[in-house]
Amino acid sequence: MNEHELQDAVNRLPKSIEPPRDLWPEIQARLGTRAGSPSWQRRWYWVPLAAAAVLVFLLIARAERSAWDVTALAGRPLIGTKRLAASGRLHVGDWLQTDDSSRALIAVGRIGQVEVRPDSRVQLVVARTTEHRLALARGTIDAKVDAVPRLFFVETPAGTAIDLGCAYTLETDSLGKGLLHVTAGEVEFQTGSRSSRVPLGTLMQIRPATGPGIPYVDDAPAPFVRAVVAFDLEQRGTRARATRSVLALARAQDAISLWHLLQRVDVPLRGMVYDRLAALVPPPAGVTRRATIALESRALEGYWTKIQRIHFRMMVLRGVREIDPRTGVAKP
C-alpha cells in the first residue's frame, strides 16, 4: 500500500461512529450531581453566594482533612476505645483495631483504600494530600492505591512500605517479621539505607533486624525460595554457601532476585553473582561488568530497567503469551 492509497482509505473512514450503548443516562446522572446549570453561572448574584459557599467548604475541608473515612466490613472494629458501628472517621493519631472476627475498610484520602484484616492494629500518622501515612503495628492489610509514586506509606516495626502506584498485601507481627506480596505496580520497602524493589507478582520476607529481604517471583520453585530465605537469615561473612545455593537454583525468571542479591553479597562474591545474572538475562547496552560490580547507580538502574520491563511483560501476559524471560520478547 502506498501513501496515496492510505490517504484514500483514511478519507473513506466514517466521521461519526455511534457509541455501542446509550451514554446519556450516565451523563445525565453526572450532571445531576453538579451544582448548577450554565445559566446560573451567568447571573452575577451567584458570585458572592458562591464565594461564601467556597469559604465554608474550605473551612470544613480544612477541619476534615486530617481524617479518613472508615467502614466496618465485618464485626465491630475499634477506633481508639469506641466501637465502630457501620462507618466513622479515623483522625490523625487514632488507632484502628480489629479482633479475630472484624474487618474494616479505610479510604486513603482520595487516592485509594486499605482493607484491614482481622487481628490487626493500624494508626493514621499523616493525612495530607502530599503524604498519606499509616503505621501497621501488627496484622495484615490489603492496600490499593491509584496515585503518583511516593504518596502513600505504611510503617511497620521493621521498615516502611513506599507505594509506587500499586496494590499489595502486607503482613507483620509486632516485632517486624512479615511478608509483602505485590499484585499490581511496584512497592519499595525501606529500612534505614537498605531497600528492596518489589514489583507485581513478587513476594518479599521482612525481618526485624535486617528489614527487607530479597524479593522472589510468586511462582518460584520452593527450593529457590528456601535458598533466598536462608540467605536473608545468614549473617554477613557467612553467606558464601547460601549465595551459591541461590545462584545454582536461579532461572532467568528470577533475575529480580539476583539483581538484589548482587547488592547484598560481600564484595568478593559480586563477580560470581553478576556472571550468573548476565548469563540468565544479558545486561543492556552500556551496562558493564565493572560498573555493575562497583554498584554504580547508573549501571544498576540500567540493568533494573531491563529486568523490570521483562518481568512486567511476563506478568501482564501470563497465561496469554509465552514470553522469553531472557529478552521479554514473545515466543512464536
Binding site: 500500500m1 502506498n2 501513501e3 492510505l6 490517504q7 482509505a9 483514511v10 473513506r12 473512514l13 466514517p14 466521521k15 461519526s16 461512529i17 455511534e18 457509541p19 455501542p20 450503548r21 451514554l23 446519556w24 450516565e26 451523563i27 445525565q28 453526572r30 450532571l31 453538579r34 446549570s37 450554565p38 445559566s39 446560573w40 453561572q41 451567568r42 491509584d146 503518583v148 509514586p149 509506587l164 502506584g165 499490581a184 505496580g185 511496584e186 520491563r309 512486567f312 511483560r313 501482564v316 501476559l317 496469554v320 503469551r321 521479554g328 520478547v329 514473545a330
Partner: protein
Amino acid sequence: MPPPDDLVARAQAGDQTAFRELYREHAGRVYALCLRLTGDGRDAEERTQDVFVRLWDKLSSFRGESAFSSWLHRLAVNVVLNERRTTGRRERRVMPAEDPDNVAGAQHAAPLHGSGLSIDLERAIADLPDGAREVFVLYDIEGYGHGEIAQLVGIAEGTSKAQLFRARRLLREKLER
C-alpha cells in the same frame, strides 16, 4: 427538531432537554474522535461522557464566533489529551510503551465499525503507539495542522511531523501484511 442554534441557546439557559438533543446530535462525532484518539472502546465511552459533562460546564462561554460543532470538537480534543496527560505516566509505569509486543491491540472493548479495509485501518490505527496515533488522527483524519497539534499535545512541531511519518509507515506495514 429545533434549529441547532436554538438548541445551544436553550441549553445555555439550563434546559437539559435541549442539552440531551445536542448530545444526540453530536455523540457520534465525539465518540468517533475519542475512540480513535484513545484506541480503546471503554476509554472512548468514558471520554465521551467527560466531554459532554465538560460541555455543560463550558457552554456559557460559547459566543458563536465559530460553528458550534467545531467548538465542541476542539473541546473534545482537549478533554481527551488532558486526560491522557494526567494518566499517561501511571500507565507507562505498568506497561512500558516502547515494548515491542504491547498488548494494547487486544484491549478493544467496542466493536469496530465499517467494513473490509476500513475495519483493518481502524484496528491498525488503534494499535499505533499513543503518540503516533494522536498525531495521525488529528492531522490525517481531523485536519489539524502541525502547529496546532504541537500546541494541543505539548510537543515540538518537528516531533509532530516525525510522529506522523512514523504512524503512516506503521499503518502501511500493517495493512500490507
